[in-house]
């Protein structure tokens, strides 16, 4: 069963085709990696999947519905970790959690404890004063606490030191292992995708250059080499 299906999904900003005819399917319980350089359209595609952007053309079906923007109830089943920072700066981390929790009947406090409780997370600090690592950790907690079926992450490891990156990937792995959720994850770090994804979509200039199982796409090369090949070929 496909949790996500898009066909010729396109999003245009003025003259810029941020996402160009993207067609993909994400079966339930799998991890799709979006790999590409900056400006490839990964963020835009994730926002389209989340429902924060409306498509210019093409079709998109997430959890059986057009996109969350139309049906707020879908947000119960989706967790989204944005690249931008728009958690209210004046709230403390604890207040953010409490605020979000009030909207969900399903709320795993133990999981939140696990995610936040290590390394003495400064729960009473205002969001605007949180370091990048702490901020992302809070985002993850907010996104995972209500046990969503679908998790969308936009370059979650960018700006993190290796420990932070490792911790984050571990959190994701725990989540996938325990609940078999579906994940769409974007990164320009090939290694992240190689480790985490079942399927990879290599994107550039808004287009999906190739889409397939990580192993198939790799062939006999490293994923990195494959990625560079595709990008170079495209630019010819």
């Amino acid at each position: 069963m496909n949790l996500i299906e898009t066909r010729d999904l396109t999003r245009v900003f003025g003259k810029l085709r941020a996402v160009d005819s993207a067609t993909l399917e994400v079966p339930a319980g799998t991890v799709l990696g979006l790999l590409g350089p900056n400006g490839a359209g990964k963020s835009t595609l994730l926002k389209l999947l989340a429902g924060h952007l409306r498509p210019t053309s093409g079709s998109i079906s997430v959890l059986g519905a057009p996109a969350a923007g139309r049906a707020p109830e879908l947000w119960r089943r989706i967790g989204y970790v944005a690249q931008e920072r728009y958690l209210p700066g004046w709230m403390t981390a604890a207040e953010c959690l409490r605020f979000t929790a009030s909207f969900h009947q399903q709320w795993d406090s133990a999981k939140v404890e696990r995610i936040m409780g290590r390394h003495d997370f400064p729960l009473q600090t205002h969001v605007r004063d949180l370091s990048r690592g702490h901020y992302v950790r809070l985002q993850i907690a907010l996104a995972l606490a209500h046990d969503p079926e679908l998790i969308l992450l936009d370059e979650p490891t960018s700006g993190l030191d290796p420990t932070g990156r490792h911790d984050l990937l571990e959190l994701l792995i725990e989540e996938i292992g325990r609940r078999g959720c579906t994940v769409v994850l974007s990164s320009h770090m090939v290694e992240d995708i190689e480790r985490m994804a079942d399927t990879v979509a290599i994107m550039e200039g808004g287009r999906i250059l190739t889409l397939g199982g990580v192993d198939a796409v790799k062939g006999t090369n490293s994923l990195e080499q494959t990625f560079l090949d595709y990008v170079n070929r495209r630019q010819e």
Binding site: G177, R178, R195
Partner: protein, 123 residues
């Protein structure tokens, strides 16, 4: 992680190698899919796929509710595997020796020296 080889196959190879080397004994328990995924920091689906492949090859088996274990046939298979591995290494060494200009006699001499050194031959 090696280039070019799917991660799940690398895991399969690693497990088989460890069984062959005796580091994993028959009936010994393997880490759960989730635990191994955490240890390696990879997608649990990949680990699951590796375990499935190992199961197909008869190297491991699942006991209901108790986890995954190395199968006893694995021991025999591992012996054969071990022999195959050593033969391959032998071949590599011989090729290397030939390339560096050693004669047949010199190769044999070296071989006997090694056996004596490790107490496998009286000398």
């Amino acid at each position: 992680m090696r280039d070019g080889v799917p991660i799940y196959l690398q895991i399969v190879e690693q497990v088989k190698r460890n069984v062959a080397l005796g580091r994993l004994k028959p009936e010994e328990g393997l880490p759960s899919v989730r635990q191994l995924a955490l240890d390696l920091t990879i997608n649990p689906n990949t680990v699951a796929r590796a375990y499935l492949e190992l199961e197909h090859q008869g190297v491991i088996y699942k006991r209901q509710g108790q986890g995954t274990f190395v199968s006893s046939q694995a021991a025999e298979a591992s012996r054969r595997e071990r022999h195959k591995m050593v033969s391959a290494l032998f071949e590599k060494a011989v090729i290397e020796a030939v390339n560096s200009g050693m004669t047949g006699r010199e190769i044999e001499e070296t071989y006997h020296q090694l056996l004596r050194r490790y107490g496998l031959e009286e000398g």
